[in-house]
Amino acid sequence: MAGSPSPLTTHVLNTAMGVPGSNMTIRLYQQDLSTNVWTLITTGTTNDDGRCPGLITKQQFKPAVYKMHFETAQYWERMGETSFYPYVEIVFTITNPDQKYHIPLLVSRFSYSTYRGS
């Protein structure tokens, strides 16, 4: 989408093979503060670099709890492997949407890690 880049980004890295985690399906959800219901904001697929631009617009990005869902088992299955984790969900709180947030996922079949970057 044209216009300013997403204030929220991600990057998937396959730490088992030392390559970007490309072609992984990701879904971003936003939680309604009063009802606690999750609303799907975007569905995307990581590119060759393991990134997924355009997750959310500045207008949509308000203070809330968000959830990023990574289809990890599906990713490993496509390479003929199983995964201990059927999927990974990272739930995080945004209090200041004026900042940039980078939520990477470093993943192998039996481990994963994430951190808040910018």
């Binding site: 088992a73 059927p86 739930v91």
Partner: protein, 118 residues
């Protein structure tokens, strides 16, 4: 009483921010009912002074399926007078072979976490 040695599933929380065990963190174990596709809570626990929590499920109850360990990280940091980027952490995993033991540690700070299967 289930001993550490008899429990097929265990966890260990480590506070990598302060370099100490993640003691007194509330957590819960859930199993996915694959027919109804809903999560059922199996047990709740709290990490001890060493950050460990054993006895979450018995060998007999630990059948193949999808499980979720939920760590109340937000409450943990709140009790230390701090905020956390993650209101909670949920680690979803698949159990296929029951002959093995599963140890799922959580190494976490206010802005990052990692987990692995050992």
């Amino acid at each position: 009483m289930m001993t550490a040695e008899s429990s097929p599933l265990s966890t260990h929380v480590y506070n990598t921010c302060d370099g100490v065990p993640g003691a007194k963190m509330d957590l819960s174990l859930h199993r996915l009912d694959s027919k109804l596709m809903i999560w059922t809570m199996i047990s709740i626990g709290t990490t001890n002074e060493k950050g460990c929590c054993h006895g979450l499920i018995s060998q007999e109850a630990f059948t193949p399926g999808m499980y979720k360990l939920r760590f109340e990280t937000g409450s943990y940091w709140e009790s230390l007078g701090q905020t956390s980027f993650y209101p909670y952490v949920e680690v979803v995993f698949t159990v296929r072979e029951l002959s093995q033991r599963f140890h799922l540690p959580l190494l976490m700070s206010r802005f990052s976490y990692s987990t692995y299967r050992s």
